[in-house]
């Protein structure tokens, strides 16, 4: 056996803490080792070439690379090995950087640890056997979850590339939060104007199957071959028949809406039969069984049905529908929740009528909003003075530590719009003004020049004015003037931050991906794989990965789409061969393993033995550890290989 060991300096990342020369010479002394080298950057082309050259020159038949985490470069080096006509699985990687040099300071201890780890790898790799990656065909369809701007954009990008896309949206319409906005910073172009064309494009696209009012229920399978169940909730209106004329809404026995309108955040009321907003896509009404008399008593005149007449689009008997689809890739664009401002009671939301959330103001300033674009107080008066408090639920140890990235800019936008529509005095209470994007700083200056007041200080308290005039006193320390300010206002706007969806944990488990500490979906690598997840073939885009503005969101959705396209256009996907297999002649048919497999990959054959379906097996190895007679083995993680690793760590070779 001729083993080659390659120790990466990773610049000083490894060499700064681990004595790579000493390590290399130690490795050279290990039995079976023919070559032991250290090099500045093993992952670089010359580094990889070094390995390939040695394999040829020194007839190496096993390769150990001691560098960074295998999660980063396992594949890189396998391919390098393969290029030298050595089976890529005659290779093992040692994690000297993330697990050693980066986490230890004591150079001696770190070097000693490195020696243990490499020694273990050397013993292990001797037992490696040649393996073939399994190639499985990829389904060209794609699933996009979430119909906000991220999902819409990703869907269109892929549909335009000729891929069939299933776009699944939970609400009755796509559009997401963006559809609720009036204008967008910093350019102040109206959200609807730029969004609705895309929405209709989705509706009309021959490559897109749009399922609104629907949710993903189950996900099985693996990269390239995901089997997904989608639950289509009944809207009691047949999508194919409804043309969105909305006459039924007019005709409803309710003359006035009685139900709080979700789209307008309860600032207006809607009827039992309704459409979220005029430009909703699909332009199809929905019936709310909670509110509808027909559902409650069955004694409704059903004027809606009359007016719908021969179109017959209304169907009170409609049942939920389960759709089974098979897709090659999945893009998650499930967006965010707005921070619930009632979690900070002293801002008085819900207590004082004229405390609003930023999103409510978005609706008020919106021409198609509940007030037709009039910014008025609950009693209809125009506000004279308005306070806008930044960082509500952000940058705060008690709520969320992170910065929500968009609040500063949309607060500026709202300040501008309120001033424009009401001429009121506007006071912005901010901690830091964050305007890092393109033309952001300019926008800040512009708004400042308009005469919006900026107070550098966190809003500390809110209480009603003593004279009962209904105004609110906003108390804050102006850290620039170094004095306490008490500003009486008619209206307070709370710039709520962005949070992970309340159900993001369920969703992440559904798709078998991870969450980072803040609860947003975890990307495979913060820099190099920002839209990938640890589940191959599942990508993330937009605010489900973290707070971001529309341009960044769209950029990410494009990136996710590109990743999915690249995957699909490869036609096939190579699966790691780390599957478990039964040694048939050894198996006694005790069946211990069968109940343990989470993928039902193990079956009981007519020969009364266990048998593992290689395609269904994902290689967790649980059955291997459980098999009482040692008759199940796992490629890449054979008992022998692991025992060798243990022995290598603990005993001197």
């Amino acid at each position: 056996m001729r083993i080659g060991i390659y120790i990466c300096h990773c610049g000083t990342n490894i060499a700064g803490t681990i004595d790579v020369q000493a390590l290399a010479s130690y490795c050279g002394s290990l039995p079976g080792v023919a070559v032991a080298r250290e090099y500045k950057y093993m992952c670089s082309d010359p580094g990889q070439e070094l390995i390939r050259q040695d394999i040829r020159d020194h007839k190496l038949d096993r390769i150990v690379v001691a560098a960074c985490s295998p999660h980063l470069h396992d594949k890189t080096f396998r391919n390098a090995v393969a290029l030298a006509d050595l089976n890529p699985y005659y290779f093992h990687m040692v994690n000297l950087r993330e697990h050693d040099s980066w986490v230890h300071v004591d150079k001696l201890a770190a070097t000693e640890k490195a020696m243990d780890l490499v020694r273990a790898a050397v013993r292990r790799v001797k037992w490696h056997v040649p393996l073939e990656r399994r190639q499985v065909p990829i389904h060209s369809e794609v699933l996009v979850v979430g119909g906000g701007i991220a999902g819409i954009d990703a869907a269109l990008t892929m549909a335009n590339a000729g891929k069939h896309v299933y776009l699944v949206e939970r609400e009755p319409t796509i559009g997401g939060h963006m559809a609720q906005f009036d204008k967008t910073f910093p350019t102040l172009d109206c959200a609807a104007c730029i969004l609705t064309p895309k929405m209709t494009a989705v509706k009309g696209h021959k490559n897109i199957t749009l399922w609104t009012y629907s949710e993903v229920q189950q996900v099985e399978g693996y990269v390239g071959n995901y089997e997904v169940k989608v639950r289509r909730k009944p809207r009691y209106v047949i999508e194919g028949l409804c043309v969105g004329c909305m006459e039924c809404i007019q005709a409803c026995v309710f003359k006035q809406g009685k139900t709080l309108d979700e789209f307008n955040l309860g600032l207006s009321k809607r009827k039992p039969i309704y459409i979220p907003f005029p430009q909703a896509v699909p332009p199809v009404v929905v019936i709310d069984p909670e509110a509808c008399i027909e559902f409650k008593s069955g004694k409704c005149k059903k004027t809606c049905v009359e007016v719908c007449a021969e179109r017959n689009a209304i169907d009170f008997k409609q049942q939920e529908e389960i759709k089974d689809i098979r897709v090659g890739a999945i893009i998650l664009a499930t967006g965010f929740d707005v921070f619930d401002v009632t979690r900070i009671p002293y801002y008085g939301y819900g207590l004082y009528p004229n405390v609003y959330t930023s999103l409510e103001i978005e609706r008020l300033v919106n021409a198609s909003g509940p007030t037709g674009g009039e910014v008025v107080l609950r009693d209809g008066r125009k506000p004279q003075t308005v306070g806008i408090a930044h960082c509500i639920g952000s940058r705060d140890a008690n709520t969320n530590k992170y910065c929500s990235r968009v609040c500063c800019m949309y607060s500026l936008k709202l300040a501008h719009l309120i001033k424009e529509k009401t001429g009121a005095e506007v006071y912005n209470f901010y901690i830091d003004m964050r305007a890092p994007g393109k033309a952001f700083e300019e926008f800040y200056n512009h708004v400042a020049e308009e005469g919006v007041n900026f107070i550098r200080g966190k809003l500390a308290d809110v209480y009603p004015e003593g004279n009962g005039g209904g105004r609110l006193i906003l108390k804050a320390e102006d850290t620039l003037l170094g004095m306490i300010r008490k500003i009486p206002v008619d209206m307070l706007v709370l710039s709520a931050g962005l949070e992970p969806r309340a159900d993001s944990n369920e969703v992440r488990r559904l798709f078998n991906i991870g969450c980072s500490g803040d609860g947003f979906f975890l990307e495979r690598h913060p820099k190099l794989a920002p839209v990938n997840t640890f589940a191959d073939g599942i990508y993330i885009a937009g605010c489900c990965q973290g707070p971001k503005d529309i341009p960044d969101t769209v950029a990410q959705s494009g990136a996710a789409a590109a990743q999915a396209l690249a995957l699909i256009d490869a036609g096939v996907v190579e699966l790691e061969p780390n599957t478990a297999y039964v040694v048939a002649e050894a198996c006694s048919g005790c069946k211990t393993c069968i109940a343990l497999c989470p993928y039902s990959a193990i079956s009981f054959t007519d020969e009364k033995k266990a048998c593992i379906n290689e395609v269904l097996c994902k290689g967790c190895g649980t059955c291997v550890a459980a098999c009482p007679s040692g008759s199940i083995r796992q490629n890449l993680f054979e008992d022998q290989e692991i025992f060798e690793e243990i022995e290598g760590i603990l005993t001197y070779a």
């Binding site: 006694s588 069946k591 211990t592 009364k608 649980t622 009482p628 040692g630």
Partner: protein, 312 residues
């Protein structure tokens, strides 16, 4: 002339000798086929008779019992030198057997238990001019292959007449099995179990039962009835006698060739099928296995990865 064969017994119960006698009528054929040159139990050729023999002059020595004292160690080494083939006969020689449970304690602990603080035996004793000696009693019981090189193993407590017969056949036959072979099927007992088909395909257990707590049904898989049957991890070859006796397998045939630590694997298999993901509930279910070491290492403690309890 007939090939020479020796039998010797170390720390064992004599059941292995009985197993030889259980060859019944066949015993006479064996006696005719070979020349038994050493068998303290039956013939009193002495240690130095063996010493006088040329090295390798014995075809095969069948040694049963674990190694527990200095006499046994001495004899094992002597026989190894004189024999072409050494067979570890029975589970005590193969894995340590039940005498190996002594490794949960040590010489000190055992003497204290057996003799208390009264008179206790000593290795060398003088009494009115008569000096008497006893062999050294080791702290740790070990399997035969820990002290000498072993060629073959005959598992079981005791081995069945069938596998003994087969083994003798193999040894007297033309080509020998590969060194280190355990002379029994290399599959788990379920393969031979008459109740194999009655185990559900997906068996998960909410409850384990101790044998005295239930009246076991005579047809269905004992594990399916919640009894800790070790058949799934135990080498076949006994024809499932205990199960036919309506009692769970306790593992006397030891592990298959693919397992390093019988107990660890048996433990893993049993624990894995507990139908709960709640730690407290799992612990409750496992109360019915009050003695993991004694249950999973009943016959194999000395040859387990840890070998013995670590004494303070």
């Amino acid at each position: 002339m007939k090939p020479k064969v020796a039998f010797y017994w170390c720390a064992s119960c004599g059941g292995c000798e009985e197993a030889v006698v259980d060859l019944d009528e066949k015993i006479l054929d064996v006696a005719n086929a070979v020349d038994i040159v050493f068998w303290p139990v039956a013939l009193d050729f002495k240690e130095h008779d063996v010493e006088r023999m040329p090295d390798g002059s014995i075809l095969a020595s069948f040694i049963n019992g674990a190694i527990r004292n200095s006499d046994q160690l001495k004899m094992a080494k002597l026989l190894r030198a004189k024999s072409q083939v050494v067979v570890a006969f029975g589970v005590c020689a193969q894995l340590g057997g039940i005498p190996g449970l002594a490794n949960l304690s040590d010489a000190k602990g055992i003497f204290a238990e057996v003799f208390g603080d009264g008179v206790a035996p000593v290795r060398f004793h003088k009494e009115n001019g008569h000096s008497l000696s006893l062999p050294e009693f080791f702290d740790t019981v070990v399997a035969l292959d820990r002290v000498i090189d072993v060629d073959y193993y005959l598992p079981g407590c005791p081995p069945t007449p069938k596998i003994i017969g087969d083994a003798l056949g193999a040894l007297l036959g033309s080509e020998l099995p590969p060194k280190g072979t355990v002379l029994a099927p290399d599959q788990a007992l379920c393969e031979q179990c008459p109740r194999k088909d009655t185990r559900p395909e997906k068996l998960l257990l909410k409850e384990f039962k101790r044998v005295h707590q239930v009246v076991a049904d005579q047809q269905t898989c004992l594990l399916a009835q919640g009894l800790a049957c070790l058949g799934p991890g135990t080498r076949a070859g006994c024809e499932a006698m205990c199960i036919r006796g309506n009692m769970p397998c306790t593992g006397c045939f030891g592990p298959t060739s693919r397992v390093r630590d019988f107990g660890a694997k048996a433990l893993s298999a049993l624990a894995s099928v507990i139908d709960s993901n709640d730690e407290a509930e799992i612990a409750r279910v496992l109360e019915a296995l009050p003695d993991p070491a004694g249950t999973f290492y009943r016959y194999s403690l000395p040859s387990s990865l840890l070998g013995r309890r670590r004494m303070e």
